[in-house]
Structures are given as C-alpha cells and as structure tokens.
C-alpha cells in the first residue's frame, strides 16, 4: 500500500493544477445554479445562468475525461516499454494507484468547491450541495470511459481517434442496419427507462472489463474484443427497444406523413397569424394568443417555444419584453390524433391558443394586454410530426409502455359529461438538469414530452384534455414522475350515447426540438379582440 500511495503522490504532483481548475468550474456551476433558484433575477438572466451552468457541466465532464486519460497514460499499460514496468510493482498496485489518483484529482474538487462556497461565501452544503450527486455520477461515467480508453491507447490523439471510431461505428450501424430491420421508432415493448438503465449497466461493466483486462493481463487484443462486444451489445439494446407495432393506425399514418412532407415544404411565413384574445376579461390576468397555421393539419403538431421575445409597439423602438407562454389549447394535437386514426378532419386550419403567463411583470403584462396600439413580436413555432406511443383502454391498471417510460391508469371517473382519468407516468428524460424538483403542470404532463388524447372508436371523435386537467410532476435525476388528472369534456351527443368501453386513451409525444420538421421564427401582430372566442371544449 505504501508504494501505491507513493505513485498516487507522484500523480498528484504531476496533475495538481487540475484540482483548482475543477474546483473553479464546479464552484461557478454551483453558484449559477444557486442563483437561478435563490436570487431575484430577470427571466433573461435566469435563462442565461441556466444555460451557462449546463455548459459548465459539459466543461467539467470533458475536462475530467482528459485529465483521467492523462493520469492513466502517465504510466501507460497499452504496450511494453513504459517506465513503470522497470519498477518492482505489480499491475494490481498500479491499477489501485491510478484509481486512487483519478478519484482524488477528479472527485476531491467537488468537496473543495463546497468548502470554498461555505468558507468564502457562506453558502452551506444543504443549499449548494444538492447537484453534486449528479455531477459525481456523470463524472464517474466520464472518467470510467476515459480510464478504459486511456488504458487502451498511448496518447490523447489516439484516444480522440478511438472515440471518433466508436461514434462512427454506432452511426454507420444505425444508418445501415436499422433500415434493414425495418424498425419503427414509434413504440417499444420495454420502457426507455429500462433500456437506459441497461445501457448504463453495460457502460459500467464494459469499461470495468476493459480496465481490469488491460491492467491485470498483457492481452490488449482481448480488451479490443471486449470493446467491440460491448458496442455490439449496446447497439443491440438500443435497437431492441424499437420493434414493429401492429396497431392499424400506423398504416394510416405512414402514407399520410409522406404526403405531409410535400405540404410542409409549402408552408411559408405568411400563413402564420396571431391575434390576442382575452379569455375571461376582468377575471383572469392571463392573455390568450391565438395563432393559426394553415394547411398544416394532417398528423402534425404545432407548438410554441417557451419565450416570446422582443415585443414592440408598432412604430416605436424595440422593447426588450419577454413573456413566458404556454400552450393552453390547440387543435393540432386533436387533429394529429384524428389523422393517426384515419378520422376525417373538420377543418384545414390549426388554431393554437397560447397563454401568456399571468405572473409576468405588470409593465410587460400591460404591453401584452394590448391596451394601446397593436404590438408586434416574434414567436418561435415548431411543426412536428405526431408520434403516437400507444393506446390503452379506460380501465384501472391499463398501461402504455413507450420509448421513454410507462403511463398507467390509476383510476377512471365517468359522470356522463366528463371523463376523468388519473394517470401515473414515469419516464426518463436525458438532460443535464441536476438534482430534483417538482412542479405543477397544467395539462397533466410536461408539455414538451407527452400528451394524452381520448379517442372514441365508435363515434370516431377525439377529445383533448380540458383546461381543468391538472398534474404534478416530480423530477429526480433524469426521471420524471407525473401524477395527472386528465379531464375530458364530452359533447352533448357523446354524453348521451357513450360508454367507457368505447373510449381509448392515446399517448402522443410532441415538442421535442429534434423532431421538428420545420421551425418558424415569425413576426406576429397582436391586436385586441373584444369578444371572447371560446373553444367548445373550453366551456367547462
């Protein structure tokens, strides 16, 4: 053990500079996060701080990766000739020393950052320490891979070369093998969460196997075989979560979407119109923004990004006003589901209504309230394909397993005018967000991920959740837990004839930017509409 620590001491002398650098990176990240949660700051600044802390997380991971590679390659094991091989030490001792060095150099800074935060700024661990578990977890994954690649190679250039090789191998396999398998990415038999766990497990076991083999034997070729085997297994696991789904609506959706591609290409700026409407004058500070997108009705979902920026009064200089908006109700979801099930569409225009959040500062609210002249602004809209994860009958215990997780019906209430479905969902969301938090969500599930719609297979009608639907979302380390009460208001005709057995609930995925077919960044004009325009389903 004495010699092991002697090697660790040498590594610490060599790489001590990494410790203050990592302390700095982690410390600034923690302070930014703390600022986001505890400081009274503008939304713009909050957004910037959030983005910067994510960038810092990336920096911590990349830096830790290359520091680990350097520590490992200080005493390389990939081929004979290294200086340590002259020394009377075992490979096991060297492995132990390297593990200790990496742990100390990459792990100690998190603790030091806490100490600096407390001693210098009076920030206690219970206030800034909560993201450390996530940082350590991500660092562990990064350093483990770095350890394996560092052990297999001679220098950093080789490591970069190997990483590019591995990524390319996955990419090419994905491009070449997946079409041959004719897999559809809509539905999976197992949850994405389970697959994520399995992939994480493969990552850890694969890296450990390579490290142990590389250090305890002289068989580098076996390490390469282990790497290739691990990659094949990971590819297999990643691909097997997608399998053919046999529900009929897919056959309807597929050709319709081909046709849509052509139509989407014809979408242009001037089809987007927005107008401000008041939903409940005098009783609700929330202002409604209606956006219509013509000719984008088939199987598509149009959704706004979170922020409306740079609203200006016509004829005046731009005013940097931002307001958080959220989707209250739009017909694109309904239409997407109708299209997926092959139901006839009633109109060719998608009307979206967004709510400008009532908590916006008074000054901004007045601007958006449109009490003076019309205002001009910019809005980001994503046009996306509807991805229907699956369907389930309205029965207690029914469930849908999708790419990202599982939704299960806890209870169903039916009083002839409203169907209420209590749903519990658990799904993985690959994200940098550390720690945990909870929030109340308006529509039962985070807008950007999942939506539910009710489909009457007999009368061929589709209902989307009423505004009275509520939900609570708890986020913890990459997993969302959502408890939602989805309420669907029945029309009078359905009220008379419906029975629960006629309805199924479908889960629609939407709002993920990478699925966007087209992104609008459009100028829109706001004007006051004196009368309230209500959707039939709103009149709860």
């Amino acid at each position: 053990m004495r010699l092991t620590w002697h090697i660790v001491g040498k590594d610490m002398r060599r790489f001590w500079i990494a410790i203050p650098l990592l302390v700095g990176l982690i410390g600034v990240k923690l302070c930014l996060l703390d600022g986001v949660f505890h400081l009274e700051i503008s939304r713009d600044m909050e957004g910037s701080m959030w983005r910067y802390q994510i960038l810092l997380m990336d920096a911590v991971l990349i830096f830790s990766f290359f520091v680990t590679v350097a520590i490992v390659q200080e005493d390389p094991v990939s081929e004979p000739g290294a200086f340590w091989q002259n020394l009377p030490i075992t490979r096991r001792q060297l492995l132990g020393a390297k593990l200790l060095s990496v742990t100390l150099i990459c792990g100690l800074p998190a603790v030091l950052a806490l100490a600096v935060g407390w001693l210098a700024f009076g920030l206690p661990a219970n206030r800034i320490g909560w993201p450390l578990a996530v940082i350590s977890e991500a660092q562990f994954a990064s350093c483990l891979a770095a350890f394996a690649f560092g052990g297999l190679t001679k220098n950093v250039a080789h490591v970069v070369f190997w990483i590019i090789g591995v990524v390319l191998a996955f990419f090419i396999s994905h491009l070449t093998i997946e079409p041959l398998l004719n897999l559809r990415s809509l539905v999976s038999p197992g949850t994405h969460f389970t697959h994520i766990l399995l992939l994480n497990f493969l990552w850890v076991i694969g890296c450990l196997a390579i490290i142990l083999n590389q250090y305890l034997t002289q068989l580098r070729s076996r390490s390469i075989v282990l790497l290739i085997a691990g990659m094949l297994l990971a590819f297999y696991v990643a691909e097997t979560e997608r399998t053919r789904f046999s529900v009929d609506f897919l056959s309807v959706l597929q050709p319709a979407q081909h046709e849509l591609d052509e139509k989407i290409a014809l979408l242009s700026a001037d089809v987007v119109r927005a107008e401000l409407v008041k939903q409940k004058p005098g009783s609700d500070a929330t202002e409604m923004l209606r956006v219509s997108v013509q000719d984008a009705n088939q199987g598509l979902i149009v959704s706004p990004n979170n922020y409306v920026g740079q609203w200006t009064q016509s004829g005046t200089a731009p005013l940097p006003v931002s307001a958080k908006i959220y989707r209250v109700r739009d017909r694109s979801l309904k239409r997407a589901v109708e299209q997926a099930f092959g139901f006839p569409s009633s109109t060719k225009t998608n009307s979206l209504i967004f709510g400008a959040e009532s908590t916006i500062p008074g000054e901004d609210a007045e601007l958006l309230g449109g009490k003076s002249a019309p205002y001009q602004g910019q809005i980001d809209l994503n046009v996306q394909r509807a991805v229907i994860d699956g369907q389930m009958g309205l029965a207690k215990g029914a469930s849908i397993r999708s790419d990202f997780g599982e939704a299960r019906i806890k209870d169903v209430f039916f009083d002839k005018s409203i169907i209420q479905v209590d749903v519990e969902s658990e799904f993985a969301a690959p994200t940098h967000d550390p720690g945990w938090f909870d929030s109340i969500v308006a529509l039962g599930a985070p807008r950007s991920h999942l939506e539910g719609a009710l489909v009457n297979t007999k009368t061929r009608t589709v209902l989307t959740p009423a505004r009275t639907s509520t939900g609570i979302s708890v986020y913890a380390y990459g997993i969302f837990l959502v408890h939602a009460k989805l309420q669907f208001v029945l029309s009078q005709a359905e009220d008379q004839s419906s029975s629960l057995a006629d309805w199924v609930i479908v889960e629609v995925r939407m709002g993920e930017n990478h699925r966007s077919i087209k992104t609008f960044k459009e100028d829109v004009f706001l004007k006051v509409v004196p009368a309230i325009e209500r959707d039939a389903a709103w009149t709860e």
Binding site: H6, G81, Q85, P88, T90, Q93, Q218
Partner: protein, 304 residues
C-alpha cells in the same frame, strides 16, 4: 548457476516468427553481449526475459526464476535500461531518483551520490532538457543505484554519437567496479560491445548462431590466406567450418571457424599442398559479420 537460461524459446507475432527455438545461457558475473542485426529478435528476447511479453513456446529463467513468474521481488534485483527508454520527462534528475528510491529496499544512497558525480548529471535539470546521452545515463544510474544482481541493457548505444557512446561504455566499465553484477547487453553495434563483452551470443533471424566466451571465440576464428604459388586452386570438398571462401588469382582466402594450432596446419596441407598459408586473428566485429553473411544466401558469381 547461470544468470539467464533460455531453452527452445519461440515467440510469434501473427505470422511472423520473431524468435525461433532460441537457446542461450548467460553465466553469472561478467558481461554478456547478445549480438545480431536489426530484426534478429534481440529486443523480443529481452522483453520475454523481463516478463513484458509471454513466449509462444519454450521457457526462460532469470536469476533462477521462470521468466513468466517474474514479479516485483525479482524485478528489484534486475536493472533494465532500454533503447528509447520511456522516462517521466517532467521530472528533474533529483525527482526521478527520489521517486525510484522507495521502490527498492536495496537502494544505496552512497552509490547514488557516487554515480551522480561519475556521470556528471545536473540534479536539478528536468529530464526533458537533457540530451539523449544524458537520458541514457540517468536511466543507467537509476538502474544501478539499487545494486541489481543483473543489469539488462537493450541497444543502449542506439542513436548516441561516438563521444557519448564512449562515455557510456566507460560508465558501464567503471560502474562494474562498484558491484559484482551480471550485465546482459544487446546490440547490433559490435565495435562498442567488443570492449565490454566477456561472453558473446549471436542470433540472426530469431535463431541462435553462437553462444560462447569472447576469449574462446577470438581463439577459434582465424582469417586464413593461402598462396598457391602460381597454381589454380581447386575449391571443391572444402570443410564446412571454412566460411566466406574467396579466390583472387592464385590466392584463396577464408575464415576458419574451428582453428586450432597444429590440427589446422595439417588440414591446410592436405587441401593445399606446398602452398604458403597465413593465419590472422580476427576482431569480434569481423567474426560476427562472417557469421551473419554465411547464414544468408551466397551472392551470385562466387563459388564456394
């Protein structure tokens, strides 16, 4: 007991045979030179001896321990300096010595100080700022300071200029005065080794060509010149031990690899009656070159 024993050692890399059925023995004490051209299998042999790679077949023992079982205990008794030795270049000479010292219970601080003076090494200079010759000296010094029983040097002169080579050889000779160790030195640079070696092994194409003491080797190899005094030489049925046979006019030249005074004279008389025969001693370099050449394809136009 021999310091190193190698029996029928073979090492294959894919389809290439680096070492084939190699057998050698290195007596304890003295300096053993393993000679061979580039690609002869010297470094592979040493890596097997140091347990850095495993043999495909055969076995080797170092200081009485099977080479595949050489561990920290044995390595603490073996000094190893290789061509292109990887050293931690960010360290200074002093830091390197401080780093190496705790690994060896037998580390001799007095010897370390004496070698520092003898090799004239700047203690505080970073290794990355040292010349190649100085780096080799540092490596040699760190390998000598713990008084190893066996010192293994793999191509130590490679890339060194003549002056540094001379200093290095001188260093090895002077260092040998500090202890009674066995030195195993591999090189293709025969002239430098000639000054050092007590015992010589020659390998070529991974196979053993020779393994005996330098003294005996110098005794039994002779360059022979035969003057036939006007007659045409008949070069048929020559003994197998006569190597590199050449003819210029009425003179015949060859190397007798089994020369022994008395018996050789009789043999010459039988093959070349009435001829004037002159025998000349050879250097180790000449002997080695003769062995390497005789093992290869005879050039066209020369008839043995």
């Amino acid at each position: 007991m021999n310091a190193i024993e190698i029996h029928n050692l073979t090492r294959r890399f894919g389809r290439t045979d680096a070492v084939v059925d190699l057998s050698l023995s290195v007596p304890t004490g003295g300096i053993f030179a393993l000679l061979g051209p580039n690609g002869a299998g010297k470094t592979t042999t040493i890596k097997i001896l140091m347990n850095l790679i495993s043999p495909t077949s055969g076995r080797a023992s170092v200081l009485g321990v099977d080479s595949t079982r050489i561990g920290p205990k044995e390595r603490a008794q073996i000094g190893y300096v290789a061509e292109n030795q990887d050293l931690p270049l960010w360290m200074s000479v002093r830091q390197l010595l401080d780093y190496c010292r705790p690994f060896y219970p037998s580390w001799d601080r007095d010897l370390e100080r004496a070698l520092l003076v003898q090799f004239d090494l700047p203690e505080d200079r970073k290794l990355k700022n040292l010349s190649r010759g100085m780096l080799m000296k540092v490596a040699l010094m760190s390998a000598l300071s713990y008084r190893p029983k066996l010192l293994v040097l793999d191509e130590p002169f490679s890339g060194l200029d003549p002056l540094v080579r001379d200093e290095f050889v001188q260093g090895i000779l002077e260092a040998s005065e500090f202890g009674n160790w066995t030195v195993f030195i591999s090189s293709h640079d025969i002239e430098e080794v000639e000054r050092l070696a007590d015992h010589v092994g020659v390998i070529d194409g991974g196979r053993t060509k020779l393994n005996e003491s330098a003294e005996s080797l110098l005794m039994r190899f002779r360059r022979i010149e035969v003057n036939l005094q006007g007659r045409t030489p008949l070069l048929e049925k020559m003994p197998a031990e006569w190597l590199a046979i050449d003819r210029v006019g009425t003179r015949v030249m060859f190397v007798d690899s089994r020369y022994s005074e008395g018996t050789a004279e009789a043999l010459f008389q039988r093959h070349f009656p009435d001829a004037v025969v002159t025998s000349l001693p050879m250097t180790l370099r000449e002997i080695s070159l003769t062995i390497f050449r005789s093992g290869r394809k005879t050039p066209k136009g020369i008839t043995l």
